[in-house]
Point group: C2
Chain length 341, copies 2
């Protein structure tokens, strides 16, 4: 039993007694061509009867446009990426575009993704912040091929595509200064795994942390700089270890998304009070920060609305047919900081 053949525009044309061109004009509802209601109805009725829908591949080939965008993220299920994904989906849907999501979490996935994009699988690309393993080289090649791209990054990126920046360094610095100013003397850092690799799009939070230490004359202690806090469970264990160490820190800067929440769980389970015993500083607009007592403050990155701004930027580029060679720098991210300690 082989797959049933889909009806084509030719079938519809035959049934309605017109040519395929007419079918196309009717299906696309083109107002510049004048088609009498009688013919139009006949075509539509035939299409309905056959359950005809224009083949997407053929249309894309002819129109040289897939009406899909590609969203490149580092993983699924972490709030920062999820929020971005949700917003992109909304905007894309409004613009009549589909979203094909690809997860880049290894070097060869990165390479494969670049290959796919070269195949013109999408009309535009949004690259989430902190996606690891994407090399300047491969991204540059895509940019040169004229593919509209928006990359969200805080660090240096090659020329040739739009960049959306969140000047997090300043916000992190301010928040860390506040911690020190309120008497914290031993601040731990919980970061992402890939921050410790050499990804060109890696986070700048670690740098901000180290700079803050130096600024306040505090010495760097690698015992309280931990990685691998990407998922909740790992972060919980990392925080527990930090809080049970003999020389317990009096503050934790959780640079990983969910890390701050896990740290709060860990503190509770270690019978410590937040923020009296230990202050927790998180990153990202964690929904939890809205429901916990004022014990959790977060810094950067974007509020929800701004993500849709990113998507809008891309769709504008696509619509204009501009290959986004502007290297335009917008700064729509806002700081989500609340009173620390």
């Amino acid at each position: 039993m082989t797959r049933a053949k889909q009806p084509t525009s030719r079938d519809v044309a035959a049934l309605a007694g017109v040519s395929v061109a007419t079918v196309s004009y009717v299906m696309n509802g083109r107002t510049d061509r004048r088609i009498p209601a009688e013919t139009r109805d006949r075509v539509l009725e035939a299409a309905r009867q056959l359950a005809y829908a224009p083949n997407r591949s053929a249309r894309s080939l002819r129109r040289r446009r897939t009406e899909q965008v590609c969203l490149v993220v580092g993983s699924i299920g972490v709030p920062a990426y999820d929020q971005l994904a949700a917003d992109v989906h909304v905007r894309a849907d409004e613009a009549g575009y589909g979203v094909i999501t690809v997860v880049v979490d290894s070097p060869d996935r990165a390479e494969k993704t670049v290959g796919l994009l070269h195949q013109r699988i999408a009309d535009g690309v949004i690259i989430a912040p902190d996606v690891p393993y994407l090399t300047e080289n491969s991204l540059g090649g895509l940019a040169r091929s004229g593919l509209p791209m928006v990359v969200m990054s805080n660090t240096a990126v090659p020329d040739g595509f739009d960049v959306v920046r969140a000047p997090e360094t300043a916000a992190c610095a301010e928040a860390l200064d506040h911690l020190v100013g309120s008497g914290r003397r031993r601040i731990a850092y919980m970061g992402h795994e890939h921050e410790f690799s050499d990804s060109p799009l890696s986070s700048e939070r670690l740098a901000a942390y180290l700079a803050a230490l130096e600024r306040h004359g505090m010495s760097r202690d690698d015992d309280i700089i931990v990685s691998g806090a990407d998922d909740r469970v790992a972060a919980y264990h990392a925080a527990t270890a930090l809080l049970n160490a003999p020389d317990r820190p009096d503050a934790i800067f959780a640079a990983s998304g969910r890390g701050a929440i896990s740290a709060i769980w860990a503190a509770r389970d270690a019978s410590l009070t937040v923020p009296d015993d230990v202050a927790i500083l998180g990153c990202g607009n964690l929904p939890e920060s809205l429901i916990t007592q004022p014990t959790l403050s977060t810094v950067g990155p974007p509020a929800a609305d701004d993500f849709t701004e990113v998507a809008r930027l891309l769709f504008d580029r696509i619509a204009a047919g501009v290959p986004s060679k502007g290297h335009e720098v917008t700064e729509p991210w806002i700081y989500n900081r609340r009173a620390s300690t």
Copy 2:
């Protein structure tokens, strides 16, 4: 400045001094055609020089296969869907398929999605559990068109596609019985918004809850049956309201994914002890259940591995060219229940 023209196989052929057919054979590495290494290298070198990549639309049109699958979910950012999405992405990547995700959260999005699938935008479809607004009618039409589909559902679905079931009713019943058995007398229900609509794919958890009440001779009290707990903040407020009411429940069955976590926050902020003052029963394999003290127990749905099983089922169908008319029922979901109270 219009978009640069992508190189085609014709360009490569010209540069390498061969025909387009040869280019195609080389690019696809077809072993059934014998191509001497010398020619092959010349073609590959030409392709490299031009940064050629075969156009996906043209290939799809010719091969009658998009090498994409469509994942239909109800929303983004809730653990159940995220876990599914992550697993599907892994499996799809292994199989060389792309994933186009579509979020169905309104009737017209549902309709639009069905339309897209008719356009053969994907070679197969996975429909997540509890996606609302998808009518039997439209799904049936797709099934009849021969599109491989796997729908995860606990309730009745029309004939014509594969169904993956999680007999949650039994698990819910068992967990609720346990709550009653340990002395709970007033059990609240926090559910999804769309459970209270008439979606054919809606959850059966509410039914299980109501049945349990009846079974134990407890009367239904709509004051402690609340909806709108889909997101964390709403769930927190709903739980807070429940816990501050004069006639406070001694247990909460949180049928919505994250609801249980929010309920724990709410209990803590209301100075209540879990599970002494109030027991919390959650749904889904919440990562948090691994890091909290044994105060949170969850019931159903699938463990991570089983989601990949669902994806594998779909890819098998696609590979076999079988339009999944088996109405095959597998039951790979397992119960993730831990000691209650």
